[in-house]
């Protein structure tokens, strides 16, 4: 059995490198069960939740596959008007397999994938001086692939894994506008690469009778961009003859390193209470805007001001989350018939007061979640369950006034609401 698990885990790990990275799941939760308790399930998720909730959950005997769909409508306002931040939707997949090595030891691995509807990833940079909701634009619009492996010895489970992502690089584009005896011609070369990027995942879970304690760490992720565009113009008697090179560097959709500590207590009668604290290291975030470099060697001598990139100066945040789940007639994974759950989270904003050219928008977010599930039982040899969840996020109103009226958007106000829904179907072979 051990060798089988190793082979399966190895191949699963290979697949993990094919994806991109976070992260709609970090805001809404991956799967309806996690979403229904406002992501307070660090210590209480199911085995298929392992890659996103706590990797230690993967060490559960059996095999599970889960497919779901989630949609979030974002209504984020700037000075009273909707800023048009794109809605977020996509398919969630989760796989988990585990087996018993000995009476007290189990091992397992799990894979979670989030696929946005229209594309694998979007890489968006706005001009730094433009108002923008930096946490809700590019970060929510990319494929997520997380792989974890875990081992459990008695009541203690430990794990490790990777979140896989992509960058955008390569030599860039080169364009030559030239002239020969046949007339003018345009020639181009293109060198684009999508290199892999990885971030580490770790988790720990201890079961103490009715109580479960858990902790998880997730490394930071982002889509790094390096795009060069070289233009060469060689025409007879043209004052623009020469070369222009535009270099763009940036890191889109940064997700910070997060540290989660949580607990679950089985109160009785199928009711469990969940609590978690998430510490997000936003202070290491790179600028959300791209750095631009330009080299111009033309027949004319332009006057250029160098591009600038502001350090965003984000704050680290601490987010408390609480939730409750009622499963009847039994809380056991194989015996429950129906479930209801609810949760609440308060997520402070990492964005500091805007005092200069930038107008980064965000405010404290209150999140309320509800959900439920129905266990269909065995169908054609497969144990099936369906889950649904809904969330309402409210971004409190935030008004700011910059120190000088000559700065862009010297006075502004932001607020917003987000409505999220998710549904999942889980198949299990225990």
């Amino acid at each position: 059995m051990k060798s089988h698990a190793g082979v399966a885990g190895f191949f699963a790990m290979i697949f993990a490198v094919s994806g991109a990275r976070a992260d709609a799941a970090a805001v809404f939760g991956q799967g309806a069960r996690s979403a229904g308790v406002a992501r307070a399930d660090t210590a209480g998720g199911g085995a298929a939740d392992a890659p996103r909730v706590n990797a230690a959950l993967a060490a559960e005997p059996g095999t599970r596959v889960r497919i779901g769909y989630a949609y979030a409508a974002l209504g984020l306002d700037f000075n009273g008007r909707d800023l048009g931040v794109a809605h977020v939707s996509g398919v969630d997949l989760a796989l988990q397999g585990g087996g018993r090595v000995s009476r007290d030891v189990t091992i397992g691995a799990a894979l979670a994938v989030h696929l946005p509807d229209p594309y694998l990833a979007a890489i968006a940079f706005r001009p730094a001086t433009e108002p923008q909701f930096v946490l809700y634009e590019a970060p929510l619009r990319r494929t997520t692939i997380d792989f974890v492996a875990a081992a459990r010895v008695g009541p203690v489970a430990i794990d490790g894994g990777v979140a896989a992502g992509l960058g955008v690089g390569g030599a860039g584009t080169a364009f030559t506008l030239g002239q020969d005896g046949g007339g003018t011609f345009a020639d181009a070369g293109l060198d684009v690469a999508l290199p892999y990027r990885f971030a580490p995942l770790f988790g720990l879970r201890v079961a103490l009778g009715r109580a479960v304690l858990a902790a998880s760490v997730r490394g930071s992720t982002a889509i790094d961009l390096r795009l060069d565009n070289a233009v060469a113009i060689r025409l007879n008697d043209n004052p623009l003859n020469g070369t222009t090179e535009v270099r763009v560097r940036g890191s889109a959709g940064h997700d910070p390193t997060t540290i989660d500590i949580g607990a679950r207590v089985a109160v009785g009668g199928g009711l469990s209470l969940l609590g978690a604290i998430e510490y997000a290291v936003y202070s290491a975030a790179p600028p959300p805007s791209a750095d631009v470099g330009i080299d111009v060697h033309l027949g004319t001598t332009p006057g250029l001001r160098p591009a600038f990139v502001f350090a965003p100066g984000f704050h680290d945040t601490v987010s408390p989350r609480v939730g409750a789940e009622l499963r009847r007639p039994s809380p056991d994974d194989a015996a429950w018939r129906w479930a209801v759950r609810a949760g609440y989270a308060r997520v402070p904003s990492p964005v500091p007061d805007q005092l200069g050219f930038t107008t980064f928008l965000d405010s404290t977010r209150h999140e309320v979640a509800v959900g439920g599930g129905y266990h269909l039982g065995r169908v054609a040899g497969v144990d099936l369950a369906v889950e649904i969840a809904a969330q309402l996020h409210v971004l409190t109103a935030r008004a700011e006034e910059k120190p000088s009226a000559s700065l862009p958007y010297a006075r502004f106000e932001s607020s917003g609401t987000i409505v999220h829904g998710a549904a999942t179907l889980e198949a299990a072979w225990r």
Binding site: M1, S3, A8, F11, F15, S18, T63, V65, V91, L93, L95, G99, L111, V113, L115, P118, Y119, A121, A122, I123, A124, F125, P127, T129, E130, T143, T173, F175, T176, D180, G182, F185, A186, D187, G189, L190, D191, V192, A193, L194, P195, Y196, L227, N229, V231, I233, L240, V246, V248, A290, I294, V296, L298, P302, G303, R305, A307, F357, A380, G381
Partner: protein, 445 residues
């Protein structure tokens, strides 16, 4: 317990990989695993493991249990044009094949199989290189091994003799606008909206077993290409620039129809496949460009209609030699021929090279049954070659303005036939060989 959860785990791995699926080019050029390399891809009627996701998803239905395989694969180009060797940008990758029977009960028991074929580059998802228009290159091989390949497939065994299957062949391209303009501070600022868009095509197939020893197969692989396009607008010192560079058909694979049949004679098995590859839809390996500058609006004039459909024939055989009660060696060989996908028309600035190809391959595998708690473990090796026969084309110098598209010109408009620097002038020549090697480890669970 073990027999129950292991195949399920493999199935889940297949399912998880499905949405990230990609392209099949590396398999077409290199072969899929040591068996595909050795048998020159003549596998449509016999592949029933994960490689069937590429060769014929219908054949996947006839496998049993779960198989996992990994095969590091290397391509080496000894192709030369104008006396210079043209190598591969990314010659190494790892092929992965997984197949599993979905553990259902009732009438669906042992009827549904999932398969997965993948080719993973060590450094990234893809590496697209579009060369300048005059650079000599072999379009049949250019860019075709430089991307992640992920082909998940689902197969159903309708009857004990008939299987059908379908796979999805997906990859993401990169496209979108980028602008560089003076911002509110007066400095240049950038606005980018690049999207790694999803492109998908279908693999489908049918296999019908005429008898236990004789099979026929039909497979279809839809045309596949991804966009790679970046439109840059900039304002440099008050001078507006707009340049769009890219292609809508990067990483191109032609649509292909495969008709195959196989039969077995004792320990020997033979297969012959005919493949119709629709290269005529190929728009070319070049990046197009459109530029707008003050007083000037120009677009590249790329050649069109230079490729043609081709039919290739491939044959392969294998022979099993038992070694004791629980081991066997399988010897493999294949051969085939494929015409050039270029029409051979006289080219202007471009220098595309391709020739008729002679295909060959050899390989062997060792299988150990019922060891280490698994049904079988196989190790194998395959070596293949594609000999591209020498090809030559005379180039025409432009004699008078306006220069026809199938000529090349020097820098002087008053005397365009003098000083021509096109690398293919006066004669474009090329040929050589392309080699592929693969080592594989396969486990039947």
């Amino acid at each position: 317990m073990r027999a129950r959860w292991v195949p399920i785990a493999a199935a889940l791995a297949v399912f998880a990989a499905a949405p990230r699926a990609a392209q099949a080019s590396a398999f077409e050029v290199l072969g899929f695993g040591p068996t595909g390399v050795a048998e020159v891809n003549a596998r449509a009627a016999r592949a029933d493991d994960g490689t069937a996701a590429f060769y014929n998803p219908g054949s996947l239905a006839f496998g049993r249990g779960a198989q996992l395989a990994i095969a590091p694969t290397l391509g080496i180009s000894a192709l030369a044009a104008q006396g210079k060797t043209i190598g591969l940008d990314d010659p190494f990758g790892i092929a992965v094949a997984i197949a599993v029977t979905v553990p259902l009960e009732g009438p669906l028991k042992d009827r549904i199989r999932l398969g997965f074929g993948g080719y993973l580059l060590p450094g990234g998802l893809l590496h697209l290189v579009a060369r300048p228009g005059a650079a000599p290159l072999f379009p049949y091989y250019d860019n075709r091994t430089q991307r992640l390949t992920v082909v998940p497939a689902l197969a159903v065994k309708i009857t004990d003799r008939l299987g059908i299957g379908v796979g999805v062949n997906v990859l993401g391209g990169v496209s979108g606008p980028a602008s560089v303009q003076p911002g509110a501070s007066g400095a240049t600022e950038s606005r980018l909206d690049l999207e790694a868009t999803t492109r998908a095509s279908v693999h489908a197939g049918v296999r019908f077993d005429l008898a236990k020893q004789a099979r026929v197969a039909f497979a279809f692989r839809q045309r596949f290409a991804v966009p790679a396009k970046v439109t840059t607008t900039a304002e440099i010192a008050g001078i507006p620039l707009a340049v769009s560079v890219g292609t809508e058909s990067a990483l191109f694979d032609p649509a292909a129809l495969v008709l195959g049949s196989s039969f077995e004679l004792g320990a020997a098995a033979f297969e012959i496949d005919a493949t119709w590859s629709m290269w005529s839809a190929y728009e070319g390996p070049f990046a197009g460009v459109r530029a707008s500058l003050p007083g000037l609006d120009i677009a590249s004039n790329l050649p069109a209609g230079f490729a043609r459909d081709v039919v290739s024939v491939r044959a392969a055989g294998s022979y099993r030699v038992a070694i004791g009660a629980s081991a066997e060696v399988v010897l493999r060989a294949g051969a085939g021929a494929e015409p050039s996908m270029l029409k051979g028309a006289t080219q202007g600035r471009t220098n595309l090279v391709d020739g008729d190809k002679i295909l060959g391959g050899v390989g062997a595998s060792l299988a150990l049954h019922d060891v280490l708690s698994v049904r079988a473990i196989r190790v194998g090796a395959g070596l293949g070659t594609q000999v591209v026969l020498a090809t030559s084309q005379a180039k025409s110098a432009c004699a008078a303005l306006p220069c026809p598209a199938d000529t090349v010109a020097g820098p002087d408009a008053t005397n365009p036939s003098v000083g021509i620097a096109n690398p293919g002038f006066p004669r474009l020549e090329g040929g050589g060989a392309f080699w592929a090697g693969s080592l594989g480890l396969e486990v039947d669970l």
